[in-house]
């Protein structure tokens, strides 16, 4: 949407905390779907795909699938840490995004399936496409898993949330 509202400018700060005054989808999805005034007698429109995805994120943690991914993450970490024991190097890696890109796809997987990458989201606020999950796959082993979840989620009807009264 090209006509993004110009909000108050970035509020400064130390550089340790990212700030956005105008909301991207990632930042407000939960708020506008789950919070705010609502009255049951009113019609609520359904939202294809996105609602079911937010539910998916909440249940994903307690599954064998998840456990195996955690285990994989820890094992891979082991291999990495044989070379990089020192704290300074660890810090550097994190700051530069190096370490996190190496281990990407483990905890990151569910998030990307949900929202796309956070930074990416910032860049393409104008993107009008509703299907985001097919983009920008990394080539690590979790790709298959992630894609599967995205597709399953993307085809959901959102009906489970629609029927929820609040």
């Amino acid at each position: 949407m090209a006509t993004a509202v110009q909000q108050q400018p970035y509020r400064g700060g130390s550089g340790y905390v990212a700030r956005s005054s105008s909301s991207g989808l990632y930042d407000v999805l939960e708020l506008i779907l789950d919070k705010g005034l609502v009255i049951d007698v009113f019609v609520r429109v359904s939202l294809i795909g996105i609602e079911i995805l937010t539910i998916d994120a909440r249940i994903v943690i307690a599954s064998v699938d998840t456990y195996l991914r955690f285990a994989e993450a820890v094992n891979r970490l082991d291999l990495m840490s044989t070379e990089t024991q020192g704290l300074p190097e660890l810090m550097e890696g994190i700051t530069e995004g190096g370490a996190s890109s190496k281990t990407k796809g483990v905890l990151q997987g569910a998030k990307e399936a949900l929202f796309g990458d956070e930074e990416e989201e910032e860049k393409d606020k104008g993107d009008e496409g509703e299907e985001r999950s097919g983009r920008r796959r990394s080539s690590d082993q979790t790709t298959t898993k992630r894609r599967r979840r995205s597709e399953a989620s993307g085809s959901g009807s959102g009906s489970s949330r629609r029927s929820k009264k609040s």
């Binding site: 949407m1 006509t3 509202v5 909000q7 108050q8 509020r11 700060g13 130390s14 340790y16 905390v17 990212a18 700030r19 956005s20 005054s21 105008s22 909301s23 989808l25 930042d27 407000v28 506008i32 779907l33 789950d34 919070k35 705010g36 005034l37 609502v38 009255i39 049951d40 007698v41 019609v43 609520r44 429109v45 359904s46 939202l47 294809i48 996105i50 937010t54 994120a57 909440r58 998840t66 456990y67 955690f70 285990a71 994989e72 993450a73 820890v74 094992n75 970490l77 082991d78 660890l90 810090m91 994190i94 700051t95 281990t103 990407k104 905890l107 569910a110 998030k111 956070e118 009008e128």
Partner: protein, 250 residues
């Protein structure tokens, strides 16, 4: 009775009766209109015919309309997706039926905004921390190392289970600590569930506009302390989504 009185309306939020619409378009490009009932008014736009399914663009429009309204004054945001069949229903079921509540909440929200705080763990940092902090995790990890996946299937599930549990405990502790540290800077706080696996903190703070710098400084302090471990993001000022509610009317 004008034609538009009988058209279905998408409802963004509630403002005072003397409020004005912001200079942005509503859903499907429709102009924003106030439907008022004396002291309170609903911020709406005529909904497209057969408007039953919404997409990403509509979510963003909802959000941007409300943010633009917030710049002009106090607004009580509706949840996404509320459509009323006609103006009479809107007045009866919302504006008149809840007048006292709405007025009270408008007064309560004057001069306040919602700021959301999300903290996301650095994956490598948090996993290292969990491995170092739990003997059984370390032991299992060593036992599995170098063996085939098939031969260690159950050990790997057990390892993952332990890591997931340790992670959840750590997350709960970190979230609580951050929220408690920021609580003095806010009028009210709502702590949400993590919405993805790597999330450390997901909370909303109702903050006086005048108190925003204090809040910002406090978050910066935390961000500096947790650098390399948790990456924080503050979004706002937003309308007070997490702090408005209506009593159900029977």
């Amino acid at each position: 009775m004008a034609d538009s009185d009988r058209k279905p309306r998408y409802v963004y939020g509630v403002v005072r009766g003397d409020g004005s619409t912001p200079a942005v378009k509503g859903i499907a490009g429709a102009p924003l209109e106030l439907v008022d009932a004396g002291e309170v008014a609903a911020l709406t736009s005529v909904a497209p015919a057969e408007y039953l399914e919404a997409g990403r663009e509509d979510l963003l429009t909802h959000s941007r309309v409300l943010e633009a309204t917030l710049e002009q004054g106090t607004v009580l945001p509706m949840r996404f997706g509320v459509v009323v069949p006609d103006d009479e229903t809107l007045r009866g079921r919302l504006l008149e039926g809840h007048r006292e509540e709405l007025l009270a909440q408008l007064a309560e929200m004057d001069g306040k905004v919602e700021l959301t705080l999300k903290g996301v763990y650095d994956e490598a940092a948090i996993l290292r921390e969990l491995v170092a902090g739990d003997r059984e995790i370390g032991y299992l990890r060593n036992a599995i190392a170098g063996k085939s996946e098939a031969a260690t299937y159950y050990e790997r599930i057990r390892l993952g289970e332990l890591v997931a549990a340790a992670f959840a405990a750590r997350q709960e502790r970190d979230s609580a600590a951050v929220v408690e540290e920021l609580r003095p800077c806010a009028v009210a706080v709502r702590v949400g569930e993590p919405i993805h696996e790597r999330m450390a903190v997901n909370a909303s703070f109702l903050v006086e506009r005048s108190g925003q710098p204090k809040f910002d400084r406090a978050v910066d302090e935390i961000g500096k302390r947790e650098a390399g471990r948790i990456r924080f993001r503050v979004t706002g000022p937003l309308p007070p989504h997490s702090f408005v509610e209506l009593e159900a009317v029977v």
